[in-house]
């Protein structure tokens, strides 16, 4: 049953179809798409390069801006960003920018291009805690400026949520491996199985480095009090990690209840369907008009036959049976399932990292600095959208902030 899960759900473009899509682009003046990417991607420029058959140049445009260009191409909710202002919408539908970017980065990989270059050593060292998107981008940005970079990752493999959270059908592991390789090729060292605060202290990192970036991510899934200690309940991020680790080899019952309406919930829904689960009901607090999940992910889940019930709150849990009440209309729904998966948000764990506190699942940090002048933050614990592209943005921002503060020879 895992075959479908292991294949990319959306087919990539071919050289022919990418040119067709690029030729739909209107090559606008002051292109709106190029103003709406948190990571500063310039789709107007790379689509133009594709249009004029300069695929290698297009790859340079993408890669020099974003070391995770191939990952973002696959997972970015582009309808919220670059595609939002696409002038083509005035004729029919926006350009599929993500898929064009995916073709370009795949082309780059197939052709073995080495676009990013390590900077001339500037004698400064930076330690980064975590190896998710923010950490990887900060590492790449600083390594290109000549910094010596060490990453500390608690897990056995690097990538954070990219590796353990985003399902294989949406983000193949080999893509994550490839982009981490682009980072390590810049001389960045990654220390695996190393928890800061346990295996190495923050003080030690501070004394060995000119700056420390905390980019630990919100990798822990939230629990709701009513569901605590219920043996039928699994937290969404734990479930997704289990499936990805085992390459889809997990036993699942026929009837599953999912609770949550964000991208993680949709990832769970689609994963379950691709693994062959017959009946899935997803009950969501938000109504459709206020959904947080990207439209594409919602569409994928619905197309695969997931039943999504919007506007309901769980009010009572009795083993496998959950009772929901509508938020505004009087009425309730009772669902009994063999398994319940909770996708109601994540929080970061900063245990052992004194100086950063978590309040209501968010860090108390404003911006990228902490009370300690040597310690910076990036990723989920800096306050931005919890998307990969926003994490990349924080990585770039914190890198340029550090560069402006400590500079280099």
């Amino acid at each position: 049953m895992s075959k479908k899960y292991l294949q990319e759900l959306e087919p990539g473009y071919t050289p022919l179809t990418v040119c067709e899509e690029a030729s739909r682009c209107l090559l606008c003046l002051d292109a709106p798409c190029s103003k709406d990417c948190p990571a500063g991607t310039d789709p107007g420029r790379f689509i133009r390069a594709v249009r004029f058959r300069n695929f290698k140049g297009a790859a340079e445009v993408v890669r020099e801006n974003n070391v995770l260009g191939s990952i973002c191409a696959r997972v970015c909710p582009t309808e919220r960003y670059c595609q939002k202002g696409c002038a083509r919408s005035g004729i029919d539908v926006p350009i599929d920018i993500g898929r064009i970017q995916r073709f370009i980065t795949d082309f780059e990989e197939t052709n073995g291009m080495k676009i990013l270059k390590k900077g001339k050593p500037n004698g400064k060292r930076v330690a980064i805690i975590g190896s998710g998107p923010a950490a990887l981008q900060a590492a790449a940005s600083l390594a290109r400026l000549g910094y010596e970079i060490n990453l500390y990752e608690k897990e056995a493999k690097a990538g954070g949520y990219l590796r353990y959270g985003i399902p294989e059908y949406r983000l193949p592991t080999h893509i994550v491996d490839k982009e981490i390789e682009y980072v390590t090729e810049l001389g960045v060292k990654i220390h695996l199985n190393t928890t800061v605060g346990k295996d190495i202290s923050l003080d030690k990192l501070k004394s060995d480095n000119d700056a420390v970036i905390v980019a630990v991510g919100a990798s822990y899934g939230k629990m709701l009090p009513k569901f605590e200690n219920n043996p039928h309940v699994e937290i969404a991020v734990d479930f997704l990690k289990r499936v990805k680790d085992s390459k889809g080899q997990v036993d699942l019952p026929d009837n599953i209840l999912v609770i949550g309406g964000g991208d993680v919930a949709m990832d769970v829904n689609v994963t379950l369907k691709l693994l062959g689960v017959k009946n899935i009901s997803d009950v969501v607090y938000e109504e459709f008009c206020e959904f947080r999940a990207s439209k594409k992910e919602l569409r994928d889940a619905q197309a695969l036959g997931v039943s999504i019930i919007d506007g309901y709150v769980p009010v009572d849990v009795d083993g496998k049976t959950v009772t929901f009440k509508h938020r505004t209309i009087p009425g309730e729904v009772k669902i009994t399932a063999d398994k319940i998966i909770l996708a109601v948000g994540q929080y970061p764990n900063v245990c052992g990292l004194e100086g950063i506190r978590i309040v209501n699942g968010e860090s108390d940090i404003k911006g990228y600095v902490t009370t300690d002048p040597k310690v910076f933050v990036a990723g989920d614990i800096a306050h931005l959208d919890k998307t990969v592209v926003a994490a990349v943005r924080t990585g770039k921002d914190v890198a340029s902030l550090i560069h402006s503060r400590i500079g280099g020879r």
Binding site: R53, N54, K56, G57, E60
Partner: protein, 417 residues
Amino acid sequence: MIKKDLSINFLGVRFPNPFCLSSSPVGNCYEMCKKAYGAGWGGVVFKTMGYYNFVVDEVSPRFDKLNKENTPFVGFKNMEQIAEHPLDENLADIRRLKKEFPYQVLIASIMGSNDKEWEELARLAEEAGADMLEMNLSCPQMTSHAMGSDVGTNPDLCRRYCQAVKRGSKLPVLAKMTPNITDMIPVAIACLEGGADGIAAINTVKSICNIDLDRKVGMPIINGKSSISGYSGKAVKPIALRFIQQMRADERLKNVAISGIGGIETWEDAVEFILVGSSTLQITTAIMQYGYRIIDDLRNGLMHYMDEQGVDHLSDLVGLANDNLIPAEELDRDYKIYPEINVDECIKCGRCYISCYDGAHQAIKWDADKRLPSVNKEKCVGCLLCYHVCPSGAIKMGEIAFKPGRQGQRKAEDIIH
């Protein structure tokens, strides 16, 4: 971002890269040329200057375009003549541009209607600081028959005007050819005899793009009428490449310096012009459609190509295809290549069957139940029309069959690349 030296020496002038605006609406004034230089163009051929007494009086509207399916600008028709600004204003613009952009090339395009005007225009352009002159012997939409492509088909007149220009200036001179002629070679030779140093080819092709079906008038309609005028853009590229190749293949013109013009839009087009012998390149239609910014991918794409080819000097690429274009009677006619249909990639549209039956040799069999084509080798002549019409790339060049008794020593890899 890749960095490669794209500079080239052309008739003693160093071009930072081979890409120039051609003499046309895109290089009509100081502001336009300034923006083009800023965008990274290697040179500008400033829009053709006529003599003091020639008054340009343009029509409105003045353009038309040819579309095919959903692709606009397959070809472009233009009725504009030479520069509409007074000569002194153009010369002042050239002076100012050369002062501000000393390292980018400025070529002054000129057009007189008699010896004296040609000579005087050459002198004035050199005085204004131009690096090179281009003689416009080829504009097909002039309102005077003593100017433009009517002159460019007359070798004697071309020779004479080249002599006049050389009397007026010491600058290197390009003679710009009209394609509205069967054989360009006598004109090109006459120009070189007259003192021209190199050839610019091609100017636009005389055309009618479309006819308005209701009003029975060519397009664009100007008070109920229209005229034949110059056609440019991607559609003329094959014609331009042919003329350039023919000149380079002629013993008397071997290694002639050429500035290639005609439908260049991408770096791949540019490379084609270089491979048939162009050292510099000129572009208008693609700029009119997309703007000066196309220089980004022209330059970057050419750098990547040089990198792939292991070439450090652009000049090493000039003319590399010339010897591979030979007369039809010298081609190897000993074999045919059968198409190979990959069933897994076939999308079952049947277009190969239709084209083979109606346009070739009825050599594709069609399984109507499975909707699958196959090749009948008895009938197939190896024309490969099917390969060209297949929309999914499922048809490739397959088995090579030698005609009876004509085996030869060639290997498959020599024949199919």
